[in-house]
């Protein structure tokens, strides 16, 4: 009993660390990647030089780090922490303080249901590499994403600022609109793999189609994949769907935030990005699956087999999951630096008039195909 708890806690910590680190690195990637895309240098100044004779030899080592802007996230953090902890005059002080916590909390909570590896057998125990092995995993994830709305509403309402309030209203309507599509697209996946459990969905993706193509979500649900990815992008409220935030022009719900509390919104943003990447990986790109890797080792379609030890298999799976997630994070970042922002009416049009009908059609189509296959 205690051991189980300890293992779960350990998994939770591992997950948390992975997510926070990826999210933290995002802030650096965001700066540097955008810079390189836009023919700029990006951050290359933050840092320090050592003057003491004892440590002077370290300077040549520091220089490339400074040059790469790797001290920049630290400087950003220090700046955020050192900033005035402001709460707006006439606002609701308590709610104003609580809102970013709620937002970040719910952004993190979803990760509990994401499996990052198959079951690990160690010392006679079966450890599912998933913080919470829920059989309604993705309902849980959507519930958490839905609750994130509260963080936004509260931040907008408690700020005593009409712009913040309007930003919150935009944010909420956007999230709610796209959650519908998000849910509808995933139904296709559920129908194909016949489970709500994330672990089961991933396992289902280990099968092969026609004996050679991994049965990943993207291959059985191509339309669903695109719709899901778009809707999830809208859920993160990042460009091109950043109408609720629009830091520099239209002003968003966290206008009245500064310092650490603002930093939490920022972090939550990155966490959401990681979440979207993880979800896309899990639902459509085989999660921790590595093509042709079975529990016993590689089984290639042409018949060759390579035996691999259990620990190695698990390691490959975990790494495979991480690599996929990071790749998607990268894609999300690239999209963020590529597309211009939608107008609000376009956003609503896209959500309700295009994506929702198409995703509903997708469900019908999936059902039809499944029936056909079963009939044959």
């Amino acid at each position: 009993m205690w051991m189980d708890l300890a293992i779960k806690a350990g998994l939770a910590v591992v997950m948390m660390l992975i997510v926070i680190n990826i999210a933290g690195i995002h802030s650096w990637v965001e700066r540097k990647q955008s810079a390189v895309i836009q023919d700029r240098w990006g951050a290359n100044r933050a840092g320090f030089t050592l003057n003491s004779p004892l440590w002077r030899w370290l300077n040549p080592l520091l220089r490339p780090i400074i040059y790469l802007g790797l001290f920049q996230p630290i400087a950003d953090l220090l700046k955020l922490v050192a900033k005035e902890n402001w709460s707006p005059v006439g606002g609701m002080k308590w709610l104003h303080a609580v809102a970013p916590f709620l937002y970040l909390l719910f952004a993190f909570a979803g990760f509990a249901a994401i499996p990052f590896g198959d079951t690990l057998h160690v010392a006679g125990r079966d450890i599912a590499l998933q913080v919470a092995s829920l059989n309604v995993g993705f309902v849980f994830i959507f519930a958490m994403a839905g609750l994130g709305v509260y963080g936004i509403v509260l931040s907008g309402v408690s700020s005593n600022n009409n712009y913040a309030f309007l930003g919150a209203v935009r944010g909420v309507s956007q999230m709610i609109s796209y959650e519908v599509t998000l849910g509808a697209t995933v139904i296709g996946i559920v129908m194909v793999y016949g489970s709500l459990d994330m672990q089961e969905i991933v396992r289902g993706q280990g099968a092969l189609l026609w004996g050679w193509l991994p049965k990943w979500g993207v291959f059985v649900q191509p339309l669903g994949c695109i719709l899901f990815f778009t809707a999830a992008l809208a859920e993160t409220k990042r460009i091109p769907f950043d109408l609720p935030e629009g830091e520099s022009e239209i002003i968003g719900y966290f206008t009245e935030y500064s310092g650490t509390k603002f930093g939490m919104f920022l972090l939550a943003d990155f966490v959401e990005t990681v979440m979207v990447a993880a979800l896309t990986t899990t639902l459509f790109f085989g999660g921790w699956q590595f093509p042709y890797l079975q529990a016993s080792g590689f089984v290639f379609p042409w018949g060759a087999e390579v035996a691999v030890g259990h620990y190695a298999v698990v390691a490959i799976q975990v790494v495979s999951f991480l690599v996929k997630v990071i790749a998607f994070c990268w894609l999300l970042m690239t999209i963020r630096w590529t597309l211009p922002r939608f107008r609000y009416d376009q956003l609503m049009d896209l959500g309700w008039k295009r994506m929702l009908p198409v995703s509903l059609a997708n469900i019908a189509l999936t059902g039809l195909v499944i029936l056909l296959i079963e009939a044959l």
Binding site: V36, I37, D39, R40, I226, T230, T334, T338
Partner: protein
Amino acid sequence: MEAVARKPGTVTPAGGVKRGPLTFWERVYVVEAARGVWITTVHFFRNMGYHFLHLVGLAKGRQAAVTVQYPEERRYLPPRSRTRHRIVRRDDGSPRCVGCMMCETICPARCIYIVAEEDPDPNIEKRPKRFDIDLGMCVFCGFCVEACPEDAIRMDTQMVDLAAYSRRGMILTLDQLLAGEPAGPVESINALGERVHG
């Protein structure tokens, strides 16, 4: 001349962008978005590649970043850019300003503070005793320059590095304003531009 049918969004010879109705695939957007992502990705890897080549001393001729490294390199500012103010001096070094307070009146940021006094020369009559500009509040609109009937205040120092450790420090006094120098005749500014842009 009969207009040539063009692909929507192509650039016309005149330099404008000709827009037509969107094609089906453009309206689907996903394809266009993917093309966009492709462009940014290509940029990324090309620039990254050059950066690495530069590191090992190759391909020095190809630019990977166009950023001007500001404090060391200074970018050419067009002669009409509005930069830190200065007060023009007469031949004898006294301020050309007569303290008419036109600039103070027009200033939308209300950041000019003038106190005038009698000038010993009755042909000048009036001169500023105190002339402060609070750069912390200035919005660099240039109205003060426009309003000055004496052409006494100008924003041609090309100084843009305005920072101080206190609000007080952002206030320029008459002496500081008189010490400002124009950034030089237009030719030399252009020469600076040549140097920076090669």
